[in-house]
Symmetry: C2
Subunit: 441 residues, 2 copies
C-alpha cells in the first residue's frame, strides 16, 4: 500500500475531479460507503479466489482472542451498492444513477503496478433495462477519456447472450460456459497456446478448442468497426436463435444511440470480448487506448446481482474505470496540464526578523485575499537560506518585507526564475504576481 505525497495527491485529484464532473453532467449522483463491511456480506460473492483475498478484521475486546473475524475491508464497489440498495430502498429513487470513487482492498501478492489498496471509479444505473443506459455509459466514459486528453481510444462492446450463442455453436457444454469465458477473457494476455492448454484442462475437447480459437483469436481489437456487414453476418448466422437475435438487436440499438454523442465512432463490436465476471447478463463493454495493452476500464449489464440482498430484481448496468492504470499511463505520457500545481505556494514571504513577523503575516493575508497561495517562511534564517528554500521547492516568487518596505507600506517581489525584483504597494503586489503567473497565450 502506498503513501501519496503532495504531487501524487494533486494528480489523483485532478483525474478524480474530471471523472466526477463528467458523471454529474450525466445525472449520476455520488455515493460513499464505509471501508468496512460485515464479513458475511462479502463472503461467497467473489468466488473461492476472492474469498482468500478479502482482508478480514478481528473481533474486538474480549472476543479478540477467539481469532475470529466478523468484519472485512471493502473488496469492490458493486457488492456494497447492492447492500445499500437493500438497506436504504425507501430513500432511493426507482431509477438510481450513482457514481462511487473509493479505495478497495485485496490481499494480492504485491507485484509491479499492482497494489493492495487501490481506487475504483464505478458508475452504475439501476432500475432500467433500456439500451439508453449502455449508450449513456459509453458516452460518459468517452467524455472522461477525452477530457483527460486521450485521443485514440475505442470502446469494444459485446453481449453475454451472443457469447453464449457462439459457445453453443462451437459445441461448448453449457456447464463449462462460465469457466470458458474467464479463460477466453485472458486471450490477449496469455496468447492462444496457453488459452488452448487451459481450455483443455477444463475439459474442452480439441475440436471445440479449434472452433473457439478460430472465433475468438481471429478477431479482437483488429475488427475495424461496427459495420453493418459484420452485424448482418451475425444476424444471418443466428437467424434461428431468439436470444442471440435479441442480443444483436440490443447491440445495434446501443450503436445507433451513441451516434449523437461523444462516443460516436468510438464504439466497436468485438465478439471476442469476454469479461471475466460471471454476473453479466447483457451488453458488456471495455475501453482500450491505442498502444496500451489491457484496458482502462470495463463494465456491462448485470440484471440479477443487485436483487441479491433485497430479494427484488433490479436491472442494472455499469462501468468501472481503473484509476491507478489511468494515472500510470498519464504520468508516463506526460498528460497532466502544466497548470496543475506542483509547488506548495505561488509566493513565499521571507522573514527578516522576529519583530517583522507580524507584518509578514498581515501582508500574507493581503496576498491571499487576491487569490494567491502564500507560504510564510517561519524562521528568521539568513535571507539567502530562505530564498534557497523557495527555489528548491519551486515557489516562483519571494516577497521581501524589510524595514524600508514596512515603513513605506510596500513589498519587494523577487522573481526567482527571471532573477528580477520590483517593489509594489502592498495592496498591488497580489495582482502583479497573479499577472506574472498567468501563462501567456
Amino acid at each position: 500500500m502506498r503513501d501519496f505525497l503532495p504531487e501524487d495527491v494533486r494528480r489523483r485529484e485532478y483525474v478524480i475531479g474530471i471523472i466526477k464532473r463528467v458523471y454529474e453532467r450525466y445525472g449520476f449522483e455520488p455515493l460513499e460507503t464505509p471501508a468496512v463491511e460485515n464479513l458475511e456480506t462479502l463472503l461467497g460473492k467473489y468466488g473461492d479466489e476472492g474469498n482468500q483475498l478479502i482482508f478480514k478484521i478481528l473481533k474486538r475486546g474480549e472476543h479478540e482472542k477467539t481469532g475470529e473475524a466478523d468484519l472485512a475491508l471493502r473488496y469492490d464497489l458493486t457488492v456494497p451498492l447492492a447492500r445499500v440498495v437493500a438497506q436504504h430502498q425507501a430513500k432511493l429513487p426507482r431509477l438510481f444513477k450513482r457514481y462511487q470513487i473509493q479505495p478497495v482492498w485485496r490481499a494480492d501478492r504485491p507485484a509491479r503496478g499492482r497494489f493492495r489498496e487501490f481506487y475504483q471509479c464505478d458508475v452504475d444505473s439501476l432500475g432500467s433495462t433500456s439500451p439508453t443506459i449502455e449508450a449513456e455509459l459509453c458516452a460518459a466514459v468517452a467524455d472522461v477519456l477525452t477530457e483527460l486528453g486521450f485521443d485514440e481510444f475505442v470502446i469494444r462492446i459485446n453481449h453475454r447472450q451472443l457469447l453464449t450463442a457462439l459457445l453453443e455453436v462451437s459445441g461448448v457444454d453449457v456447464s463449462l460456459h462460465s469457466g470458458v469465458l474467464i479463460v477466453l477473457d485472458k486471450l490477449d494476455k496469455m496468447g492462444p497456446e496457453s488459452v488452448r492448454a487451459e481450455l483443455s484442462s477444463r475439459g474442452v475437447s480439441d475440436s471445440v478448442c479449434d472452433s473457439l480459437l478460430k472465433t475468438f483469436a481471429g478477431r479482437g481489437r483488429h475488427l475495424p468497426s461496427f459495420s453493418d456487414d459484420v452485424l448482418q453476418q451475425f444476424f444471418d448466422t443466428f437467424a434461428e436463435d431468439p436470444k442471440a437475435l435479441a442480443a444483436l438487436r440490443n447491440l445495434k440499438t446501443i450503436k445507433e444511440l451513441v451516434g449523437g454523442t461523444s462516443a460516436d465512432k468510438r464504439v466497436t463490436l468485438d465478439v471476442s470480448l469476454a469479461r471475466g465476471l460471471s454476473y453479466y447478463t447483457g451488453a458488456i463493454m471495455e475501453i482500450n487506448v491505442a498502444d496500451l495493452a489491457g484496458s482502462l476500464g470495463g463494465g456491462g449489464r448485470y440484471d440479477n446481482l443487485i436483487g441479491m440482498f433485497s430479494g427484488q430484481d433490479i436491472p442494472a448496468s455499469g462501468f468501472s474505470l481503473g484509476l491507478e492504470r489511468i494515472l500510470v499511463v498519464m504520468t508516463e505520457r506526460g498528460m497532466f496540464p502544466p497548470t496543475l500545481a506542483t509547488t506548495p505556494a505561488d509566493v513565499m514571504l521571507a522573514t527578516f526578523d522576529a519583530a517583522a513577523a507580524g507584518d509578514a503575516m498581515r501582508v500574507a493575508d493581503i496576498l491571499r485575499a487576491s487569490g494567491l497561495r502564500v507560504l510564510v517562511y517561519p524562521d528568521a534564517d539568513r535571507i539567502g537560506k530562505q530564498i534557497k528554500y523557495a527555489d528548491g521547492r519551486g515557489i516562483p516568487f519571494v516577497a521581501l518585507l524589510g524595514g524600508d518596505e514596512i515603513k513605506a507600506g510596500t513589498v519587494t517581489v523577487k522573481n526567482l526564475a527571471a532573477q528580477t525584483q520590483q517593489t509594489y504597494p502592498q495592496s498591488a503586489a497580489g495582482a502583479a504576481i497573479r499577472e506574472a503567473l498567468t501563462p501567456r497565450g
Copy 2:
C-alpha cells in the same frame, strides 16, 4: 459505520472543499496515507484504551488460522504522518506543511453522534519552532470557519508549560500531571464535582483539589479576552519560573502575530484549557462556537512525537478539525448554501418512444455542452409518469422532444415549479435553462 447517500456526500464535499482551499492558500500541501498500517506502527501509541479500540486485520492465507493480526486500520492521522516523515525523509522538504483529510477507525461502542468510521481534517507544520506556525494555524482555522458561515467563534489558547507551572503551584505531584490534565480537560463535560471525585481517585489530596478547581473551574470560556491585564498577572505570578515565563512570552507573541490576520480578536487566553493528549509540549488551542457545547477542533505543538519513528527530533505543531461535528452543526443550523445541488440534474429529457431515443441522446449532449447536468429518462413510460419522476427528484426542468420538435429542430422545456412551458431551438434551450436556474440577485 454509515453510508453516505448523495445529499450527504454533497454536503461533505462542500465542507471538505472549503477546508482544502483555505489550507492550500496557506501553503499546506495534501498528503494521503493508506487505510491500513502495520499493527506494530500503531500499538502503544494511543495508551491502553487506544490499543483496545484499534481495528486489527487478520493475517492472510495459511496464516489466517493462527487468529493473529499483523495489520490495523488507521486510528488517527498523526502517527501515519510520523511514519511518512521517517519513511520518505529524503523526498520531503525541511519545512513540511501538510493537510490530510481522511477517515480513521475506532472500535468505540456506537453511540449517538459517534461513529466507528469518521473523518479527521488535520493540518500540521513540521520543521519550525516559530510562533508564526501557531499564529498561522489559528488564522487558517478562522478562515475555514468564516467561509463555512460561522459568525461567532473563539480560539482558546494555552500552553503546556504554563499548565505545568499551574499544577506545580497548586501542589500536584509531577508524576500525576499527565493524568490530572486528562481529567481537567473534561471539566466542561463532567462538571466540578465529578472532576473532584476523579482527581481524588487518582490520589490528589482535597486541598490540592480545591486549589485546582479554583484555578480551572473559575475561568474557562468565560474569560473575556486575552487582555494585557490578565497576562501581566501571570507574568507576575511566575516571575521566578523561566519555563512558565517562556510559555507566557510564546502566547503573547502568538496573540500579537494573529493581529494582522482573520483570527484577530478570535484568540483568547484560557489557562483552564487542558487538551487530553499527552504528547503536547507547547501552545495548545481549541476552537469553540457560540451556543455549542464541546469544540469543533483543537491542536497544539508537539515537538517530540514526529521523531519517534525517524529517531531525529522534528518540531511540529498542528490542528485537527472535527468534520463530523461541523457537518452536524451546519445541518442543524441550516448553514448549507441554497446553491448546493440537492437534485441529480438540472433538466430531465423525457423519452417519447424508442425511436426518438437517439434524438434525446443528441439533445442531451447539446444541453450538457452548455454546462447543464442532464438526466435522460431511459424508458418510454407515459410522459405523466416521467414528469412525476422528475418532480419527485426535484429536477426543475423537463425537456420534451416529440415528433414535431424533432422535425423542427426544437425542444419544449417545461418549468415544473412555474407550470409553464416554452419551445426553443435545440441550440438555444441550454442558455435559457441556465438563465432560469440562476438565482435572482
